[in-house]
Symmetry: C2
Subunit: 277 residues, 2 copies
Amino acid sequence: MSPNIGTVWSDSIEHLTEKQTSVTAMSQHRKTPVQVETVEPAACSVDLRLSILQKVPFFSDLPDAEIRTLNDQFREYGFQPGEPIYFSGEKAATLYVVASGQVKLLRHSMSGQDVLLDILKPGDYFGSLTTLADELYPDTAQAHTAVCVLSIQTEAFRTLLQQYPPVALTVLDITARRLQETQEIVRRLSADSVEQRIAAVLLKLAQKLGEISDEGILIQMPLSRDDLAQMTGTTTETASRIISQFQKEGLVHSGRKWIVITGRPGLKMIAAAADTV
Amino acid sequence: MSPNIGTVWSDSIEHLTEKQTSVTAMSQHRKTPVQVETVEPAACSVDLRLSILQKVPFFSDLPDAEIRTLNDQFREYGFQPGEPIYFSGEKAATLYVVASGQVKLLRHSMSGQDVLLDILKPGDYFGSLTTLADELYPDTAQAHTAVCVLSIQTEAFRTLLQQYPPVALTVLDITARRLQETQEIVRRLSADSVEQRIAAVLLKLAQKLGEISDEGILIQMPLSRDDLAQMTGTTTETASRIISQFQKEGLVHSGRKWIVITGRPGLKMIAAAADTV
DNA sequence: GCCGTTACATGATCTGGCTCAAATAACTGC
DNA sequence: GCAGTTATTTGAGCCAGATCATGTAACGGC
């Protein structure tokens, strides 16, 4: 059997915003180039709430008036970096939407090893989407940066989905897409080397959170070797070694908790390479 | 941080059907105990179609009259074991439902290694659920046994979802559930040993396709060491070694392409064990 | 019932990546 | 600016599991 193999998803970076880095034009920086936005932890303004709800892909189809109504159904919460939003095993009945900042989604193992499933950005949803079975969160959500999240009871959300079929379809699309992406991760964990997996994750993050800087594509969030390791099913040490190697090869420029991609084509080669050459 | 860890999903086997094994009461069988149902490859009867559509979780809420209408929208196809239903990379615009038999869902890697994402049973859907992006199948669907599948154009299906919001919600629930399960696989691949992964997959398959026999729970489908390896991200040899070991420990009884679970509690211990004891 | 084919088993060897360990370097708070 | 803390780097040894190799047993076809 010789099926078509290939990357199916778009991998353009055209959407990336170019931000004028006022600091260190000579690029020999040692300080993090990541711009951590300091959010008032306990409240996002009403304006922010509305603009976020509009930005949530779910609701982008809805008329403004409807969104204003929805707005009342949501509550807002702020969390500090590292703070848990909910724990795996807790009773699950709430759906969340990231308003600002980033949220980590992770699963814990008996061995103590945590696996980082995803890092969510503003507009992404998480938590309990459906009123299934036993109603316990299978994963833990944790603030990665300072975040503001909007929340709604799962039941209320489902009523809403019944009311607006197009919204339900959009939510389905997003969930189906996430399933595809997660299946690709399964494939990578089963068939690719750690080096390939790390290259792939860097490219993915660049696509998702990348920002053009004078040196290359800055992944606009704090990203430690350990985060990287938890995302690729390896150890901190190995992640560190691989990043060092990439840096030697001129593919990335990195420091403490930040990475700039300087050789996207090279990383793509590595991520896609068949071992058997 | 010390979050709650634990199995969230129900793991009962109460639903398993008990089938009177007419063959080899003395259980020293060498021939496969798996009962391969021989289906007319190119056609499932109209009755079968209706009863399948009713069984599909999507439509179980719908009144019979509606289902009869739906029936016209579906076409049916038969496939022989090993035959591809669609290939990754092909243009995707069709949604399928398994009517009878089992379907493998897999992804290919450049290295030639295939990863088995799931084995679907009657009532399960696969193919293109949503009209997303570039419309290429990211995975390959292949008949595992002789199968009969029903198919509908993705567009028609979406129209249908718009018409029946409760159906859309059910589809969403199923997709969300699959996402959860796939994330659990990611966790296992990242954090568990091969032995644990194989034990877990056996239990999962037992829950899904198990049938009580006089010896234990028979996984009612052909299941080779290679299938097992592709599901757990290991090699055929290692899978074989682990099964041999399980057999020595009295946890399973197995032959060529079949496995009976004789020690469910033992397997559960292994699947759940923290390495650090 | 025999033969060819296809799974499966198992030994021997090799290695990518994990573990353990210890030294630096970057940030933070004061 | 200094001290303490936390992230990163790098080395050395080790091991689970991959690879390579070979033998054997089950099954299907005729």
